[in-house]
């Protein structure tokens, strides 16, 4: 494109405890450009843009805005430089009117605030960009699409010329998406730069001028849209060299233990999160659920574990209908779950390793002497778990949140596996773990599989699926689109199904 970049980020790195979110990233945006920042969940897109918006400070790297090196130490500083970010969760004050939200924190507005006046200003600018909205309405009465309009107007009111939008279309209806793209094109024509954080390829192809692809915190490719197609982008987003592990080949699945038929599940907001899915799970196999997060995986696993009610359909366990069983009776049957949120749902962070290790079995007689917990027995039980599952820690009396991510996961997995489950449900068991820790978790899972346990794994990284799973069910928008034999499929095939752009002929 023309002239100099408005934004030039160089060598940006940012770590969070246990995770490298951004690893030496360089990123450029030119004036008037619609730039898509593409990648899977957890690839580091939002972190990189939060750094640009002044919300996070990078551990290293420099940022040039309009040619000058600038330290963006706060959102205020970023706004002064003309950089505005619209987050996935809108930053709006629900109890304020549209106009109040738009002028909030701005210096253009007079000290004494007159409602008529700020509403008139709001109306004017919303007119200019074709973003119609009633300025006198409270934000909590607006739809998500309308709230997004308020966010855009807020940035325009502040005179931002670089607008970052984090997954802007997830909350929109198809019609609203069209309108949004229309507005973005108007803005781009006026010389404003727009960065779209997204993982939807069709949108990228439709609106973007330039694409940068992130994967695991690194830039894996960037180019003008003319030089790209969806196939290339899919490969960049999800693929790496695939190493088939030997252990995986040795699987010998037995009979069906869990049979799910036409299961329909409600989401948190009363929507239907999972539409009539059917599949079965066999003893001694690992079935992976692939899909971009938020396509119904969480709801499916929760429904299988008894934490969420199914609307219709059936779940048969060894031929027995268990749809109406609660979580505790399902555990008693041997269906155990390792939740996605280790420290929030799986473990109690401020309790010791010892206490956490018996959370699932504290009521069993073996841990009691009469009325009282017998800590000698519990301690030896904990020690056994620590040894058996190679958990590294300095003192099992310490709160569990002192452990690293990998050890947390091993403790959690160990605790569940020790219950001798017959069906194990695990969500993102290696999320955020480094290679060695992930290896440890794989080994545990494969060993468990070889003992004949049926394992259902929710995974987001396709490489992991090829490493460990026997079969893979690909979810997209609440449907299981396909169940594939891992040996007979390819990353491209899975990748295109999970982003909703199945390749021609499929």
């Amino acid at each position: 494109m023309n002239r100099f970049p408005v934004i030039e980020m160089k060598g940006i790195s940012k770590r969070f405890p246990g995770v490298i979110a951004n690893d030496n990233i360089s990123f450029r945006v030119y004036p008037g450009e619609i730039h898509a920042l593409l990648g899977e969940n957890g690839a580091g897109k939002s972190t990189l843009m939060s750094i640009l918006a002044g919300l996070y400070r990078p551990d290293s790297g420099t940022i040039k805005v309009k040619g000058e090196v600038i330290r963006l130490h706060s959102p205020r500083k970023a706004l002064e430089e003309g950089i505005g970010m619209i987050y996935q969760h809108f930053r709006l004050v629900n109890n304020f009117t549209v106009a109040e939200n738009i002028v909030l924190g701005s210096k253009h507005v007079n000290w004494g605030i007159k409602q008529e006046r700020i509403q008139k200003e709001t109306r004017e600018i919303s007119h200019n960009y074709g973003l119609e909205i009633n300025p006198a309405v409270r934000v909590n009465q607006l739809s998500l699409g309308e709230q997004q309009r308020v966010e855009i107007l807020k940035m325009l009111y502040r005179g931002c010329d670089i607008l970052i939008m984090d997954e802007p279309t997830t909350v929109l209806t198809p019609g609203e998406v069209k309108e949004l793209f229309q507005v973005l094109r108007i803005m781009s024509r006026q010389g404003k730069s727009i960065v779209l954080i997204t993982h939807k390829l069709n949108e990228v192809m439709e609106i973007a001028d330039y694409v940068t692809v992130l994967r695991r915190g690194k830039v894996v490719g960037d180019d003008r849209i003319e030089n790209l197609d969806e196939g290339i982008l899919t490969r960049m987003m999800v693929a790496r060299e695939v190493v088939y592990s030997q252990a995986q080949r040795d699987s010998s699945p037995g009979g069906v233990i869990l049979n799910v038929d036409n299961l329909k599940i409600q989401g948190d907001r009363g929507n239907i999160a999972v539409h009539e899915v059917s599949f079965n799970l066999r003893r001694g196999e690992i079935m992976a659920i692939a899909g971009v997060a938020g396509n119904g995986q969480r709801e499916l696993v929760e429904a299988l574990a008894g934490l969420r009610k199914a609307v219709s359909g059936s779940i048969e366990y060894e031929g027995e209908e268990i749809k109406h069983y609660d979580a505790k009776s399902r555990i008693a049957l041997g269906i155990n779950m390792v939740p996605e949120d280790r420290i929030g749902m799986g473990l109690v962070p401020n309790l010791s390793v010892i206490d956490n290790s018996i959370l699932r079995s504290y009521y069993k007689e073996e841990f009691y002497s009469g009325w009282f917990l017998n800590y000698n027995k519990i301690r030896s039980y904990t020690d056994r778990i620590i040894n058996e599952y190679n958990i590294v820690l300095s003192d099992s009396n310490h709160p569990v949140n002192y452990l690293s991510g990998g050890n947390l996961q091993k403790l959690l997995l160990g605790r569940e596996i020790d219950q001798k489950p017959r069906v194990l449900l695990a969500s993102y068991p290696i999320r955020g773990l480094d290679v060695a820790a992930a290896e440890g978790v794989y080994d545990l899972l494969l060993k468990e599989r070889d003992k004949g346990t049926a394992i259902l794994l929710v995974l987001e990284d396709l490489d992991d699926i090829f490493r460990i799973a026997d079969r893979v069910a690909v979810m997209y928008q609440g449907f299981i689109r396909k169940i594939l034999d891992v040996e007979k499929t390819s990353i491209d095939e899975i990748g295109s199904i999970m982003v909703g752009t199945e390749l021609a002929g499929v």
């Binding site: 706004l79 939200n101 924190g105 807020k154």
Partner: protein, 309 residues
Amino acid sequence: MDNTALSALLAATMIAGTPILFAAAGELLAERSGILNLGVEGMMLVGAAFGFICTLSTGNHWLGLLAALAGGGFMASIHGLITITLRGNQVVSGLALTIFGSGLSGFLGKSYQGAPMLFKFESLHVPVLGNIPFLGPVLFRHDPMVYLCILMAAAMWYLLYKTRWGLTIRSVGENPQAADAVGINVGRVRFLCTIVGGMMAGLGGAYISLVYAPTWQENMTAGRGWIAVALVIFALWNPSRAIIGAYLFGGIEALTFRLQTMGIHISSFFLAMFPYIATIVVLVLVTIRRRQDAGAPEALGLAYDREER
């Protein structure tokens, strides 16, 4: 009850409501910014002690008020440090502040126990208006603090609802993420509101030791700080309602003293309960009606950490 007695009761109501309104308006400001400060009682006590000692030793009650401002502000800054800078628990810190304030004021005032205040605010006698029968003595013959207090509460209403600063303060209490995203310094706004809130509590305390009961007694605020906290809820975080509530609660306090002399037998304990019962009733009503705009600030009591994920 004859006219004179009624007018005396209403005049006493104005006086009794003043310290509560000072403290409540201050607490309201802090809570609007999202900081719950349960240390009002402690801040009032320290303000009362500072105000009393400074006035007695300098002979100037205006200097005494300045000292009370400083005392209350100092106490509140401890709360700010713990809850805003260090993101500590607001309830724990506030309760500690109350206990600390009670101890500190008792210690400072030990040698003044029971001493009378020699320098008093002269009551204004508003010309013309003060001569109106009945209303004159009720409304227009008080000391300047009574009027300053109403003025401050009214100014606070204007500030919160009609100015840019007010919008800023309320946004920080409602949704600090949103405020931060548009460049508002959340910590600074909260600190400022907390300290100004503490200063007003200090003034409220000083009013008790300088005017209301012009003497020094240990723990002389006698729970008015808690009434102020309740009043903020009763007023649903709106200063204009706080003015009404303060005189309602003040009137009950004034009544408590007078009922016995009038030979009416209602237990004084029952009257002392009234402000709290009224607050609970209001809370229940509001919860039933679920009015979005009339509730507590959404982020009240929550620490803000920008990088929290």
